[in-house]
């Protein structure tokens, strides 16, 4: 079997929603501290993101979250108080337990150790403001293209999903492509 054939089960799964109706809740609500930290490395000083008065003057319900922060506010926690330990190894580069399950993947992939995001499209439908809570729904595989690149052999997998707020309003639709690969 060629390395490309090993990806055939994933190619055959195109069109399937691997979200299985699951709602992935972000670990934290959109709060002022998290927003401040988000803006810091970007040095993004737009007052819509830190000044309630200015945000309301421009028609928003409150301080606005940057759209690039939506990934952050749909990210689940690494660990919760009622869960088992996740930092179980002292191997230098060991990731916490369970982190692989958070990736965009089907479980049908051949062995891979590398992955990175390659492409994004987003449609922004509603603003997100301080106090909102975001969650991710849907995880539909819309394409899978095996390809060898400079970093390894793997496949580009494209997914569609939505971000909703606490009222279940869709605030954004995303389409992202990940490259999962076995490094050279």
């Amino acid at each position: 079997m060629s390395w490309e054939d090993a990806w055939q089960p994933v190619v055959d799964a195109v069109g399937r929603d691997f979200g299985c109706g699951e709602v992935i809740e972000g670990a934290d609500a959109v709060d002022a501290s998290a927003l401040r930290r988000f803006l810091e490395p970007l040095e993004l000083d737009c007052p819509l993101h830190h000044d309630d008065r200015v945000a309301r003057e421009h028609g928003y319900r409150g301080v606005v979250a940057p759209f690039s922060s939506y990934f952050t506010f749909v990210a689940p926690p690494l660990w919760r108080p009622d869960e088992a330990a996740v930092f179980t190894s002292d191997e230098r580069d060991a990731p916490p337990e369970g982190i692989a399950a958070r990736r965009f993947a089907t479980g049908l992939e051949p062995p891979y150790s590398g992955y990175f995001a390659a492409d994004f499209e987003l449609e922004l439908l509603r603003p997100v403001v301080l106090g909102d809570r975001l969650h991710r729904t849907g995880m539909k595989l819309v394409s899978c293209t095996p390809k060898e690149t400079s970093v390894g052999r793997g496949a580009f997998m494209t997914w569609e999903w939505e971000v909703r707020n606490q009222r279940a309003d869709v605030v954004a639709r995303f389409r992202n492509t990940m490259y999962l690969y076995d490094p050279h």
């Binding site: 930290r37 988000f38 993004l44 737009c46 421009h58 940057p66 759209f67 690494l78 150790s113 449609e123």
Partner: protein
Amino acid sequence: MDWSAQRYWDDVTEGDDVPRVEFPLTVFRLVVEAGANRDFNAIHHNSELARTSGAPEMYANTGFLLGMWERAIREFAGLGGSVRRITGFRMRRFNVVGQTVVVRGRVLGKRREDDAALVELELWSEVDGEVTVGPGTVTVALPERTS
């Protein structure tokens, strides 16, 4: 940045430049970014591990690169603008530590759609003159002078 100045749809012309924004990448900044946006994939803060994955060095994560575009768009559109859609945000090359990412763009055109006055921007990131992200298309709604 003077946020009291608003750009209006009426004043935008095809071919106008989107003001460039520069982002020098240091280890410090990448680590602050990982903590802020919670993308803890080690390729973004661990040089050794990044190299074993085939990258030349630790490199900026997706949320950071998208945030760079957001800052450039916001500085173009001002407080009254709003982003509707982004396509073509393609990460073509690694944006690695020790480099400076420059976000640049230009106006592709403008149109009205329903009640909205829209501008299409072409945006890209580059390092040493080579495109690393994009070029993508950003649809932005801008206020009109007459509204």
